[in-house]
């Protein structure tokens, strides 16, 4: 009856529960984590899933609105086939590939050279420049697209797909340089001393030692440059308006969305095709990219 016994009982009970359940508590935490992760994964994958499903439907099936819209009842690839045969879509895809390849190559050359110089060689003001590079990374495209519109206008590059090859490196280079500075700084100094003693010049040192050793960083930076130039939307939206000059991101929206007639099956098929290259690249190289990204933000 006394409160002392009840507290004693309670204490004993908690202790018993505590010792008995440490393992099962852990197990339940694990099951709970998996259950919550499943819920999140389903929520995260709804839009891509629905996009793929719609891309497999005919226009008739979409507009009929009969039955469950979440599944394609008569899946067909006709949307994809029609798209691939469409000349406009071929322009978009080729333009995207062209611009992305040029941007990635140019950005990587610029940022690897600059990172080597900033991380290892140094000159007057080089550490200020390194900080400046990081700040440049924080300058968003939406701050600069209007003055750049004027500048590209002076250069006569408006509505020319190559203007993107000029402006995209500004999106990619700062962060690529930052990642590469991090990787190059982590290479032991003994390596370049050994190379210098063996008579290597700086350029040889960069090509024969730094680039091979920092390969994971180069892969991460390349993926970043690829992602940025493949998916950029604001610049092509602002600077391009004729169909043969457009890239995928804006082309799909401008070409397939006309007036009130939305060809949803084709729009979704096109966005599946446009999303495929980055998804495939990430499927294989995700680990490099994440390592580069997390280290890029945490070490300098």
């Amino acid at each position: 009856m006394s409160s002392a016994t009840t507290t004693a009982n309670a204490v004993a009970a908690t202790r018993r529960r505590h010792t008995r359940s440490l393992a099962s508590q852990r197990r339940w935490a694990l099951y709970g984590s998996y259950a919550a992760l499943v819920v999140f994964v389903i929520m995260f994958l709804i839009p891509p899933f629905y996009t793929v499903m719609t891309s497999l439907k005919t226009s008739a099936e979409i507009s009929a609105q009969s039955g469950n819209p979440w599944f394609a009842h008569n899946p067909t690839l006709s949307n994809f086939i029609e798209l691939i045969e469409m000349p406009d879509f071929q322009y978009f895809f080729m333009n995207s590939v062209m611009i992305t390849v040029v941007t990635v190559v140019v950005s990587m050359v610029i940022s690897v050279m600059a990172a080597f110089s900033l991380a290892r060689m140094g000159f007057w003001g080089s550490s200020t420049l390194a900080t400046g590079v990081f700040l440049t990374y924080l300058v968003p495209a939406s701050l600069l697209f209007i003055p750049l519109f004027q500048i590209l206008g002076f250069l006569g590059l408006i509505n020319n797909v190559w203007c993107l090859a000029l402006v995209y490196p500004t999106l990619a280079v700062p962060f690529c340089t930052w990642i590469m500075i991090g990787y190059f700084s982590s290479i032991p100094k003994e390596l370049d001393e050994a190379a210098l003693i063996d008579g290597a010049g700086y350029v040889q040192m960069l090509l024969k030692i730094f680039i091979p050793v920092a390969m994971p960083g180069i892969i991460a930076a390349t993926i970043f440059a690829f992602t940025v130039s493949w998916g950029a939307f604001l610049y092509p939206m602002a600077y391009l308006y004729s169909m043969d000059q457009m890239v995928l991101t804006v082309g799909i929206i401008s070409d397939l969305v006309r007036g009130d007639v939305f060809q949803w099956g084709k729009i979704m098929a096109a966005s599946v095709l446009a999303a495929a290259p980055p998804v495939i690249i990430y499927a294989f190289l995700m680990d490099y990219y994440i390592a580069g990204l997390t280290s890029g933000a945490t070490k300098g």
């Binding site: 694990l30 839009p47 110089s117 929206i253």
Partner: protein
């Protein structure tokens, strides 16, 4: 980080031939920094020509009249501040950025913990699945969302109807549309928070948790007195960085609502696009996007401070 090899090599050279080689050494040093400057030159030109110059040019443009014939000082800014549409833009941009970043940070933190709980051999596949929203180009996935929110074909409404609810005009009413825009941004940005926080969680030493457990700390106390202090810097960097990116977002609003209904979902970027590119008032558009500058500058300052502090911590 700046001048790596110079000290040891110069030291060796000096010991070998003190006075005679001084001249050659100076030349060596000069050549070394010349090469360094040449290697960094493309970067300098790129930043100067396509970032710094446009930024200054934007300030100049924002002080011209519509035809760019004469100087109007701060007239464009004053004009904008008086317009109701622009006041809505300021409100919506702040609402969008703040609510989206808070949600992303919270959900990302939860996801990072869930991922941290499961065995690391299983983490890879789950991480891959959770990163899908972030991997798909934003313009493409927003198209998918647009189709999900379609007024007459919305698949969400199909579910609601099947459960006996009314259809929701997803993008047709101001507040619903605002929340939809935030939801898409949260969907897209959460995976980034997850991987940053997961990396930070993994770097917290286990001994700290053991010590806390011995001292009798419960799960909540471990969270507040071990995890959060250890992750503070990373949380700050990620939140501020995301604040910049979210604040300057263009793709989602442009595709989903194009600023509608009645210009209530416009952000600075989309409004600047409508004013500057579509209506052709370049100076006014430049002024709209320059309104982002103070907030971006403050966030950038703190990001930089956080990153510097972080690299010192790692070096120490």
């Amino acid at each position: 980080m700046a001048d790596g090899t110079s000290v040891p090599i110069d030291a060796i050279a000096t010991r070998r031939a003190p006075a005679r080689r001084a001249n050659a050494m100076q030349r060596f040093a000069r050549r070394r920094s010349t090469i360094a400057l040449l290697l960094a030159l493309p970067l300098i030109l790129l930043i100067a020509g396509l970032v710094v110059y446009p930024a200054i040019y934007a300030i100049y443009l924002s002080m011209l009249n519509k035809r760019m014939t004469h100087f109007v000082g701060l007239g464009n800014f004053a004009f904008l501040l008086k317009r109701h549409t622009f006041q809505l833009v300021i409100f919506q941009s702040c609402f969008f950025a703040v609510s989206a970043v808070i949600l992303k940070a919270i959900i990302g933190f939860i996801l990072a913990h869930l991922m941290h709980n499961i065995p690391s051999r299983n983490q890879r596949i789950w991480r891959g699945l959770l990163l899908v929203p972030w991997v798909i180009p934003l313009a493409m996935s927003t198209l998918g969302w647009w189709w999900l929110f379609d007024p007459s074909y919305s698949a969400f409404n199909w579910i609601l109807n099947a459960l006996g609810f009314q259809s929701v005009p997803w993008l047709g009413e101001t507040w619903i549309a605002r929340l939809c825009v935030v939801a898409v941004n949260v969907w897209f940005g959460t995976p980034f928070f997850m991987i940053m926080y997961l990396a930070a969680l993994k770097s917290v030493p286990d001994q700290l948790y053991e010590a806390a457990a011995i001292d009798g700390a419960g799960a909540v106390q471990k969270l507040f007195f071990v995890t959060l202090p250890m992750m503070r810097n990373i949380i700050a960097i990620t939140v501020l960085f995301s604040l910049i990116v979210t604040f300057a977002d263009f793709d989602i609003v442009r595709i989903l609502t194009a600023g509608g209904p009645q210009d209530t979902t416009h952000l600075f970027a989309t409004y600047a696009f409508v004013v500057g590119i579509q209506s052709g008032d370049i100076p006014l558009g430049a002024s709209v996007s320059l309104f982002m500058l103070p907030i971006l500058a403050i966030a950038a300052f703190f990001v930089l401070r956080g990153v510097n502090r972080r690299s010192k911590e790692i070096a120490a």
